[in-house]
């Protein structure tokens, strides 16, 4: 087990280095972080030169990469090219926002999806089952950003017609969110639509997995044995079948959760949420490698950790799986 974890982590470091070098090259070649300053008549030549020197912008890209690597390891991801702003506090802030969004969305999605999946499996080929299947097909075929925009349009029109503001369609907080319960309510009104959008995609895929694994378990021998022993149906489905059917879902959820912590890029962009995804897009638009790389390292590390968690959890929950 320990060797498995160590080997995986070592391999991950290699992947991380490869990925960071590729992306550092892409960002450095495609964008010029000081382009904005160059066009400013008020920015003096010396300012630009100083920035170029500080970030070694005139060195070959592999050299720049090594400087970045050193900055990341010794200086908390370094600073932005323009403004020399420390990156770590920004990342911490946006990560906090993304966590609120993703945890809320995933918890709700798991609850709903497990319910739908189990009920679909127990009533296979019923009207409910077909409706759930149709829903998940449509959910998987709907672009996330479009769903987000449609909800925005809908709630803007509801507001215009009725004058009642149910949910906000942009940003994370109102102008004056207040404190205590008012703050929470304000935050909930802002997060409701993004959470809903993320939920739809997650429910669509989780409920399929849940249905499939529940079907497999329900038709297995030990469930038949439990029934043959004369256990009440409720105990058969809930204690014997349901708990084992949850195991595959753990893996899927862990993988998806890890990926989502990098920010629901599209959702955050549409709703203007100050989260990881929007941070990445803004950094990319500025052509500044340092914040892009910081985002990449945090995100990729989280994905690696959650992949590992998924594997370990699976091995723990299902004793048939063993890692050499």
């Amino acid at each position: 087990m320990l060797t498995f974890v160590i080997r995986r982590l070592l391999y991950s470091v290699v992947v991380l280095l490869a990925a960071s070098f590729i992306i550092f090259t892409f960002v450095s070649v495609s964008g010029d972080p000081v382009a904005f300053l160059r066009m400013q008549p008020t920015a003096s030549e010396i300012t630009i030169q100083r920035i170029e020197e500080r970030k070694h912008l005139n060195d070959p890209i592999p050299v720049q990469y090594v400087y970045w690597l050193k900055d990341m390891l010794t200086n908390q991801f370094g600073t932005t090219t323009i403004g020399d702003r420390p990156i770590l506090p920004d990342i911490t802030r946006v990560m906090g926002h993304t966590l609120q969004l993703v945890i809320a969305a995933e918890l709700l999605a798991i609850l709903v999806a497990v319910g739908i999946g189990v009920y679909s499996a127990l009533r296979q080929y019923s009207v409910f089952d077909y409706s759930a299947t149709t829903f998940s097909f449509i959910g998987l075929a709907t672009p996330v950003f479009w769903l987000a925009l449609m909800l925005q349009v809908l709630f803007v029109y509801i507001y215009q017609w009725t004058g009642v503001r149910i949910f906000y369609v942009a940003n994370l907080s109102g102008v004056d969110p207040g404190t205590g319960i008012h703050f929470l309510l304000d935050r909930a009104q802002h997060l409701a639509l993004p959470v809903l959008v993320l939920m739809v995609a997650s429910i669509a895929s989780y409920s399929r997995y849940m249905r499939a694994s529940m079907l497999e378990v329900v038709n297995s021998d030990y469930v038949r044995t439990a029934r043959a022993k004369g256990l009440p149906e409720r105990s058969v489905t809930m204690r014997h079948a349901f708990r084992n059917a949850l195991i595959p879902l753990v893996t899927i959820v862990a993988l998806n959760f890890g990926a989502l912590l990098g920010g629901a890029v599209v959702t955050e962009t549409v709703f203007g949420l100050d989260g990881m995804g929007l941070y990445f897009i803004n950094a990319l638009n500025n052509g500044d490698p340092y914040p892009v790389m910081a985002w990449l390292m945090v995100t990729a590390t989280l994905v690696i950790i959650f992949n590992l968690v998924a594997d370990i959890a699976y091995g723990y929950l299902d004793p048939r799986v063993r890692y050499e």
Binding site: S12, V15, A18, A19, I22, I23, T25, F26, V27, V29, S30, G31, Y125, Y130, T133, T134, F137, I138, L140, A141, T142, P143, V144, F145, W146, L149, M150, Q152, V153, V156, Y157, R208, Y209, R211, A212, G262, V265, V266, T269, V270, F280, I281, L284, N285, G287, V292, W295, L296, T299, A300, V303
Partner: protein
């Protein structure tokens, strides 16, 4: 089968069903290796010939080729057939966009600015603040987006199949090297690579030797680079399990070259998963390209694309809701249709599926 919507016909378990000959998916029965075919006479010519044999048991059997069975199973899947019709219609409109679209892509109708959807003047999807007809823009957008998706599917299928076939057939060091590379691509943070590569490759077409690589094609290349890994693993799996089989040995003994064994003897057994994966790639490519273009990193103007049309619509505000609604609806319809077709194909090409004779 997790993602299947069986129709009532498929569910029916019937005693009088004919088992498919396993072992040799997607090859005509005359291919030789169809050992499982239970002493059925070879089909004379063409598909669907109704040769009825009466056995002593009284069970009636019809001889059909693998393709005939696949076709029958596909056409039983009503949603898949309906989706196929829809997709063919959409593709037809896209191909003949220039003839069908009522207006040009950038044509301005200054008398109808920001018109809501109406039957007048063919502005079915309304017009934007510049008076551009959105039906026409959507038609041209579908043309680009669909083209990119098909390009991605074909290219990544070719790459994935080649990688998987070579890795699985030769095994050993070759397999190890190719699969490590595949794993590396698979574990790369996809979104970051996608967005940064799109930014890197630029917003215009470029010239590589005598080849002009158009900007949408660049987007397609990036997507294909990330999308082939799944198929490579599937194909490798099939090759690994089949390369020790007797029919491969027989082919080797009769002096067939590696290339011939790979292409003629083993590859046809992967047709099912390849075709299904390819359709799924089309659906994914449509959605991912739309998201990329929406964020401004995908297909760039003046090339029309569904994602950037939605971004255009978003910029123009909530009053012109139709600018956002219609391009998105079209994406949903295409993706849904492709997924249903993929689902139907998965059932149709799975030889373990039974069929009512």
């Amino acid at each position: 089968m997790s993602d299947r919507m069986p129709t009532s016909d498929q569910r029916a378990q019937d005693n009088e069903t004919v088992h498919m000959s396993r072992g040799n998916v997607g090859r005509p029965a005359a291919g030789g290796a169809g050992v499982g075919a239970m002493a059925l006479p070879e089909e004379p010519s063409g598909a669907g010939a109704d040769l009825t044999l009466s056995y002593e048991s009284g069970v009636e059997l019809k001889a059909r080729s693998q393709w005939a069975y696949a076709r029958i199973r596909f056409f039983r899947h009503r949603l898949a057939v309906a989706s196929l019709v829809v997709l063919i219609l959409v593709a037809f409109v896209a191909i003949f966009a220039k003839q069908i679209a009522p207006y040009g892509y950038d044509e301005l109708d200054l008398e109808n600015i920001a018109a809501a959807p109406t039957l007048e003047d063919h502005h079915w999807f309304g017009t934007d603040l510049l008076g551009r007809d959105y039906l026409s823009r959507v038609i041209f957008g579908v043309r680009t987006s669909l083209w990119v998706a098909v390009f991605v599917a074909v290219l990544s299928t070719l790459i994935g199949t080649a990688f998987g076939a070579v890795a699985g057939y030769y095994g050993g060091t070759v397999d190890n090297l190719l699969m490590r590379f595949t794993d590396l691509i698979l574990t790369l943070p996809g979104l970051a690579v996608l967005l940064t590569a799109a930014a890197y490759l630029g917003s215009s077409s470029s010239q590589v030797g005598p080849l002009t690589i158009s900007q949408p094609m660049k987007v397609g290349l990036i997507l294909a680079f990330l999308f082939w890994t799944g198929l490579a693993r599937i194909v490798r799996g099939v090759f690994l399990s089949l390369r020790e089989k007797e029919f491969v040995e027989a082919a080797k003994a009769s002096g067939a070259s590696d290339m011939r064994i790979i292409v003629r003897h083993i590859l046809p057994n992967c047709i099912g998963p390849i075709v299904v994966t390819m359709t799924l790639i089309i659906a994914t490519a449509i959605l991912v390209e739309a998201a990329l273009s929406f964020l401004g990193f995908g297909i760039q103007p003046p090339n029309p694309a569904l994602g950037s049309l939605i971004a255009d619509g978003q910029v123009q505000g909530f009053e012109t809701w139709w600018l956002v609604t219609f391009p998105g609806l079209v994406i949903v319809i295409i993706a849904l249709a492709v997924n249903f077709i993929g689902d139907g194909l998965r059932d149709a090409l799975d030889p373990t599926q039974r069929i009512r004779a």
